[in-house]
Amino acid sequence: MDRDRPTPTPGPSRGPSESALQVRRLLSRIGFYLFIVIVGAYFALPMLWLVFAPFDAHPTLAAAAPSAFTLGNFSDLLKNPNALRSLANSVVLAGATMVLVVAAAAPAAYALSRVRIPGRDLLLYVLLLFSSVVTGTAAMVPLFLLVFDLGLINTHVGVILVLAGGLMPAGIFILKDFVDSMPKSYEESARVFGASSFQILRDIVLPYARPGLAVIAVWVVVNVWSNFLIPFILIRDPGLMPAAVVVYNFYTEGGQADLRLLSSFGLLYSIPVVVMYLFVNRRYGFRFYGGIKG
């Protein structure tokens, strides 16, 4: 925004007059506020429904302050076995994928960071390339067939493996950054004391890279929790579906969607992710490792 400029003295004018400047300033001020208000409304309005409707005994599609404020939607939700089970499924998928990714990415990041493997840089480049190019969308056909041929269609294991494979390269990169920053002397002194690579990983590298592990863990959980496509194409049984798919089913199943259920379920489903992101942002700031979210 333009700062206050020293007003030119009246006399042989060298530029716009004082009043013209003030008008211009006023206009830009108005423009600024207008912009903020419009953009603010643009972002806020669609979200309002999620804020109001869950607490409304008679919600409509419009976002309006609750006519009849209630918490009954939530208590009804908690009695809905489908909803609860789907949340549990989401937890299982997110948790298991997180464990798998961390367990596999940590030793891999350590090996890539510390050991001079021939072709390491090429490997890293190829991994980065593949992880950006082979998106869920582009690979949905072969993934579906692969999981089908492996007999893992309609299982949690299939979804977990696919998601873990997709998230792994980025996980390795993030962790490798953390491991790179560890002083070499830590590892070398342990080696001289006789520690094996595994002992070094367990006793020294992992504790040192704990912030990195936390970042990946949260990032995997958030990604899996929100992921729609993979469980959508791999799981048929409603009892195994995670919340992401069940929310979709709630509003695409025939008939009128139960807005009370949908709104409370949607809110409950969204809150953990929002909280986690804001928490990570508070601690570490948003980091972009070649743009990983997606």
């Binding site: 309005l45 979200m47 599609l61 582009a138 056909v141």
Partner: protein, 308 residues
């Protein structure tokens, strides 16, 4: 002072001594073991599908029927029929418009505008706006899709209510525009943060020099800011284009309709492969999408390399 070493408790004497081995060989062997689980997962669930799709594209694979048991190689038929299919062309065109509208113009434009506005603005209002923008990005896609279905609803939608109880059938009459506006809303946060970071790397002295020379805000923007962060903008553009090309969320809002007006490539693939179960054909189109992704990614990585 301390007694000679022999008087200290000697837990080490008699402990097992490690086998003699060449230091380097042990290291590489250990490294391979450490890499194996990750590489296995990546190989099976990331690399293999990508390569397999190329092969599947030249077969007539289907999930049921004879073709399931005995898929035949039918050459490039799938690819040629895809390229000749007007629906495929439509899908490609729709996707292009979707990317141009929501990513290039929408997300990047609005994201940059916000980053520029936030530069010297502090306070609760600014923080609130930033949180709003980011939250739009974070809420899971299936929820967000419904939020917009509700928002754009013809009779009860909030947008129409805000427009004075109009009854505009957004999703029916302006479907492509609707999803473009939706995706802009959805993804602006990333561009905003990235441009914000890029703007932070600009030394304030550059802008101040220009201001002292009499440049207006607009001129500063055009002559100094944009050229400096051009590299960041370009890489950002490639990234969000890549993501938008592959975005499946439109399916959740419009399912490709009405009448294929929002039939983006991801939706097209999904419908052909997993609803019509023409897996060979679906694989061929997927391969085409992979190639598109590859081109974008290669350019992106090349640019990243050049910048560092």
């Amino acid at each position: 002072m301390s007694p000679r070493g022999a008087e200290l408790p000697s837990p080490l004497r008699g402990a097992s001594t490690p086998p003699e081995a060449s230091a380097a060989a042990l290291q590489t062997r250990g490294a391979v073991a450490f890499l194996t689980p990750a590489l296995l997962l990546i190989g099976v669930f990331l690399v293999f599908p990508a390569l397999w799709t190329l092969y599947l594209g030249i077969t007539d694979y289907r999930l049921t029927g004879i073709q399931a048991a005995q898929p035949q190689v039918i050459g490039l038929d799938n690819y040629t029929s895809a390229l000749g299919d007007p629906q495929f062309a439509n899908s490609l065109w729709v996707t292009l418009l979707y990317v141009l509208g929501s990513a290039v113009v929408g997300q990047l434009g609005l994201g940059f505008a916000l980053a520029w506005t936030f530069r010297r603005w502090r306070g609760p209002a600014r923080n609130a706006l930033e949180v709003l923008v980011i939250t739009a990005w974070i809420i899971p896609s299936s929820v967000v899709a419904f939020l917009w279905i509700a928002f754009l609803d013809t009779h009860n939608g909030t947008l129409n209510a805000a427009l004075g109880n109009a009854d505009i059938p957004w999703l029916f009459s302006w479907p492509l525009l609707s999803i473009v506006v939706f995706n802009t809303w959805r993804g602006t946060a990333f561009s905003m943060l990235l441009c914000g970071g890029a703007l932070n790397t600009l030394p304030p002295s550059h802008l101040e020099t220009a201001r002292l020379a009499g440049a207006s805000s607009w001129q500063q923007l055009r002559d100094i800011v944009l050229p400096s962060i051009r590299g960041h903008i370009l890489t950002n553009l490639l990234l969000i284009s890549l993501w938008t090309f592959n975005d499946f969320t439109p399916y959740l809002i419009t399912a490709g309709g009405p009448n294929f007006a929002t039939d983006t490539l991801p939706v097209y693939i999904f419908r052909n492969a997993l609803i019509n179960f023409q897996l060979g054909y679906g694989a061929a189109i997927s391969a085409i999408l992979l190639v598109i992704n590859l081109v974008i990614a290669l350019v992106y990585l090349r640019l990243l390399r050049a910048r560092s």
